[in-house]
Symmetry: C2
Subunit: 211 residues, 2 copies
């Protein structure tokens, strides 16, 4: 909007079982909207070739990770195999205060932690595949996944899906372009929520004073 | 969406001071979206030339109006000068059950009554003018309003605006096309709310059973 009402940013969470199309939808959203950025996670695993700290991840050692977690400097964290992953609080807080939105590609467990840390700023979208057959087809056509990985992901999908009712919005991802435009609409609408427009009280006061 | 998940319709309320552009925005929304219709009010005033019962209003006598109100058959009602106006419950309930959305052009008092009657189905948008000067200009350029009417409407605007904080969304209507597209986005987003997708439980159960 052209008027100057300050807005607090929001945290947009996309969750889904692997293969439901979430990564494509996140990429389309980031490409089409200048005011939202992907949250950069903190991890204790070593950088892979080509990965840049601060872009792909913030790379830290286990001691630093533990210190940050204990100091409540992480919005959520998880251990995956031998490594820790988490979301640093400071860059997210700074973005929100500046009216910028932050995108999270996390599972139901991370979402529950964000919910506890920052309920009012959270907008949770769950992406469902249109059918089990379609989910399997998408997993199989991913060149990088072995049949074994596909089987494990199908088994895990049911658990992830069981948490759909903890989300604000649910999209059945039949057509990626249609789903993208729905995600864009959700973002536009949520930005317009009265509760996020922190400058509204002053605006209305000035408006009423001049009437 | 192409899939067959049943959705309960929603009640979209547009409120604003007179002259903020609400009527234009309502008209644009009705023209651009096939799944939303204007709520038809009940009134005890006589039909004006060209008005059709069931289209412009449902015309009834005061006794019938009183009976319906006492039987809880109205979602909201008000007395304006010598006449009663109200929203019949049955056609709205039927539309919502069929997944159709209903648009209401009502003030803060009607909105409060709808809130009590049907909180979960309600989506409330408040339209603000960008400035007092712009509001006056818009009221003055309406051919049908005398200077006297304009002065009264400006005075009333301040009271109406004082209720903006009772609404879910607030739009400062600087540009009608931009505001229209925001209202369209709010409608798309709200339709995607998990809580409105009444067929989702069954869909997810079938999906998980087949995984």
């Amino acid at each position: 909007m052209a008027h100057d009402i300050h807005r607090r940013g929001l945290m947009l969470v996309l969750s889904s079982p692997s293969g439901a199309g979430k990564t494509t939808l996140a990429r389309q959203l980031l490409a089409s909207d200048d005011n939202i950025s992907m949250s950069v996670s903190l991890t204790t695993r070593a950088p892979r070739p080509g990965e840049t700290s601060g872009v792909d991840y913030y790379f830290v050692d286990a001691q630093k990770f533990g210190e940050m977690r204990n100091a409540n400097e992480l919005l959520e964290s998880a251990k995956v195999f031998d490594h820790y992953y988490g979301t640093p609080r400071a860059p997210v807080e700074e973005a929100l205060a500046n009216g910028r939105d932050v995108l999270f590609d996390i599972d139901w467990q991370g979402t529950q932690q964000l919910q506890e840390a920052a309920e009012d700023d959270l907008v949770r979208i769950f992406i469902l595949p249109p059918s089990a057959a379609e989910l399997e087809k998408r997993l199989l056509t991913r060149a990088q996944d072995s049949a074994d990985v596909v089987a494990r992901r199908m088994a895990k999908a049911s658990d992830e899906i069981s948490h759909y009712a903890e989300y604000d919005y649910v999209i059945v991802n039949e057509d990626a372009n249609e789903s993208s435009s729905i995600i864009g609409a959700i973002l536009s609408a949520e930005r317009q929520k009265r509760s996020r427009q922190t400058g509204l009280t002053d605006f209305v006061k000035r408006l009423r004073d001049s009437l």
